[in-house]
């Protein structure tokens, strides 16, 4: 039960974190990932109840994440806006835009509520696992969770061995060398940001089409920032990022469990990912400081 909820809650974090990893390695801290997730969650929910159904919703969620990512890339790479400010702007556009559209849709339906019911994705039903310990966590997961589990190793492989993966890592590490190789760092950044948008949009769909069956305003609740934290806690390595994001998912699952079963306050647990990440950044800084002083000696 707990494990199943860990998988369910870690899925959007892992997806968004892998997207973030690409942009961070290309030299852009993608603060806008939060807004891209939110946009995906809304678009998925809104489209799932139309003729296109939940799968159409999933596709549109990815497209919405991509669209917001393109806004970020365009502001940063074409207009020259700083990516921190552009990222904040994307989050504001998504937060304000989803609520405004939510209002418009609900009004046309004659509802005044703050939420929008979605038509959820069918779960992958493996009822023969129900009585198997541990593995029963997999018995009733969403297709997005399954795709994340199955495709994560593929992602790691492509990250290290495909050409785009190598370009992206090279742009953040040694941009002049990339230029020497005849590749435009700007184009690589466009690619990294676009991919992060698609990942984030799908992560948002997991929230509104699987974990819950509604869209609620501001429903991402900082998950995009947790994903960014996971990238740094994972030392900007894909495997580390996946582990960190899963650990943060476990944190959220524990928090939900405590809220339902006990009166133990959950705010410290909610703050935990952020505290750990600040400490990790400090430790990483200390380590590189020591390396430098050793090299100087």
């Amino acid at each position: 039960m707990y494990l199943a909820s860990v998988l369910e809650l870690a899925t959007p974090l892992v997806l968004a974190a892998l997207g973030c990893l690409l942009t961070v390695r290309a030299g852009v801290d993608n603060i806008g990932i939060e807004g891209m997730m939110l946009g995906g969650a809304f678009a998925g929910a809104a489209v799932s109840t139309t003729v296109f159904g939940p799968w159409g919703g999933l596709a549109v969620a990815a497209a919405a994440g991509l669209a917001l990512a393109l806004v970020l890339a365009w502001s940063h790479l074409s207009l020259g806006a700083d990516f921190v400010l552009a990222g904040i702007a994307v989050n504001l556009l998504a937060a304000g835009g989803t609520v405004t559209l939510l209002f418009a849709i609900n009004k046309s339906k004659g509802q005044g509520a703050d939420d929008l019911a979605s038509d959820p994705l069918p779960t992958v039903n493996l009822s023969f696992l129900d009585d198997v310990p541990v593995l029963n966590a997999l018995a009733d997961q969403s297709p997005i969770t399954w795709a994340t589990i199955l495709l994560a190793p593929v992602f790691v492989y492509l990250y290290f061995h495909s050409k785009p993966g190598i370009w992206i890592r090279a742009v953040g590490g040694n941009a002049p060398a990339v230029v020497e190789a005849g590749i435009s760092p700007t184009r690589v950044k466009w690619l990294a940001m676009s991919l992060s948008g698609v990942f984030a949009g799908i992560a948002g769909a997991q929230l509104s089409l699987a974990t819950t069956h509604t869209f609620v305003r501001d429903m991402t609740q900082g998950r995009g920032f947790i994903a960014l934290a996971a990238v740094y806690l994972g030392l900007r390595h894909p495997v580390g990022t996946i582990i960190a994001a899963t650990a943060f998912g476990a944190c959220q699952a524990l928090s939900t469990l405590l809220q339902v079963r006990t009166t133990i306050p959950t705010d410290p647990l909610a703050a935990f990912p952020y505290v750990v990440t600040v400490i990790a950044l400090g430790v990483a800084g200390l380590r590189s400081l020591r390396r430098r002083s050793l090299a100087a000696a």
Binding site: V24, G27, D29, I31, V71, S75, L79, G80, A81, D82, V84, L85, A86, I88, A89, V90, N91, L92, L93, A95, G96, G97, V99, T100, L101, L102, F103, A104, K107, G172, G173, G222, F225, L228, A229, Y232, P265, D267, P268, A270, A271, Y274, V275, T277, V278, L281, G282, A284, G285, L286, S288, L289, R292, A296
Partner: protein
């Protein structure tokens, strides 16, 4: 930079603002039953009654404090987005002191001191991490915002919640700590304008300010002049945190008169917008804060009177930030020589930091 460039900049700025206005109109058309009434509410709502005018002016005063704080740290080239968390920590510290002292003549001054110290301390941490460990200040300040938000909620729920409270709040502060107002003009407005002037004088008229600006314009130049770059970075963080701390005190003693979970949420990001509108000049922040606060108050009002989500104004914020950030960068690129512009393009977050090279 020449005045010609500034005029062109102003023209583009005006065009951008008009474009953003049209966007808001489109969003209102999407959600409102009565578009003219909503537009009217947005544009004149803030002055439609004494109460609303007071609301506008006090909200603008909060924006001034936080805008001045953001200007300072941005001018030193630090992309700290931590004002939000600093406001929370400051409000908590100030509220805690006020509640502990109760009715006492010292309560307000000591509480304001606590706010300043709280904001400064919460900013010092990422400052030290940036200056001495080269930790990406964007990420650390973002993370610390959340830590502050959750700590704020936790302390109120666990330690300050009065019996029988229906939602997470603290008791009201003693009335002696409530900031007075004169008619519709809150006293926090006066202190806020003074803070903007103070930050402006510090940056533009003092030796420390000159050095801080040099660190922001060109770290190699600052280093070549023998300025203590790391210490200056920390100073910038601390002073901006202290000013952000005043925001927390102003909201607590001028606005809510108690601590409420969620109070002041989002003000850090609105402060960034106000600072951007002022082209990072604290002297211009009072004007931009009043202008933005006006629109923001209008948004609150159409939400109440017209059943239109105030979030249309949030969309506007996003559009304005992109437009302004782009305008600023273009202007900077033109007015700076390449040699000076170089440090602005360095990538934060890459492992090779230039701050470290001082010691090599």
């Amino acid at each position: 930079m020449s005045t010609v460039l500034d005029w062109r900049f102003a023209a583009r700025l005006a065009a951008g603002v008009v474009g953003a206005g049209l966007l808001v109109l489109a969003l209102l058309a999407l959600t409102s039953d009565n578009v003219p009434a909503s537009v009217d509410g947005l544009l004149t709502g803030a002055v439609s009654s004494d109460g609303r005018m007071a609301q506008w002016l006090s909200y603008s005063s909060y924006l001034m404090f936080v805008g001045a704080s953001v200007c300072l740290v941005f001018r030193v080239g630090m992309f700290s987005i931590g004002a939000e968390g600093q406001v929370f920590v400051a409000a908590l510290a100030a509220g805690g002191v006020a509640l502990a002292l109760g009715p006492s003549g010292f309560a307000l001054p000591l509480a304001v001191l606590a706010a300043v110290a709280g904001g400064a301390a919460w900013a010092l941490l990422p400052g030290l991490m940036k200056a001495y460990l080269n930790a990406d200040e964007i990420v650390t300040t973002l993370m610390l915002n959340f830590v502050a938000t959750f700590a704020f909620a936790f302390v109120i729920k666990e330690a300050l919640l009065p019996d029988g409270a229906g939602f997470p709040v603290s008791d009201y502060f003693d009335q002696g700590t409530w900031l007075p107002s004169w008619g519709t003009i809150p006293s926090s407005l006066v202190f806020a304008i003074l803070s903007c002037v103070g930050v402006s004088l510090l940056l533009n008229r003092s030796r420390l300010g000159f050095r801080l600006r040099m660190v922001g314009d060109s770290r190699p130049f600052a280093r070549a002049n023998g300025y203590p770059v790391r210490r200056l970075i920390c100073v910038a963080f601390v002073v901006s945190g202290a000013v952000a701390g005043l925001t927390g005190a102003a909201i607590a003693f001028g606005g809510t008169h108690r601590l409420i979970v969620g109070m002041g949420a989002g003000i850090g990001f609105e402060g960034i917008l106000v600072a951007l509108l002022a082209v990072n000049r604290p002297g211009l922040v009072p004007l931009t804060a009043l202008a933005y606060g006006y629109l923001r108050t209008g948004g609150e009002i159409i939400q109440i009177t017209g059943n239109v989500p105030r979030d249309v104004v949030v969309v506007l914020q996003g559009v304005l930030i992109i437009g302004l950030a782009a305008l600023l960068r273009r202007r900077d690129a033109r007015s700076r020589t390449p040699a000076v512009a170089a440090p602005a393009t360095e990538q934060p977050g890459t492992a090779q930091g230039d701050v470290m090279e001082v010691t090599r």
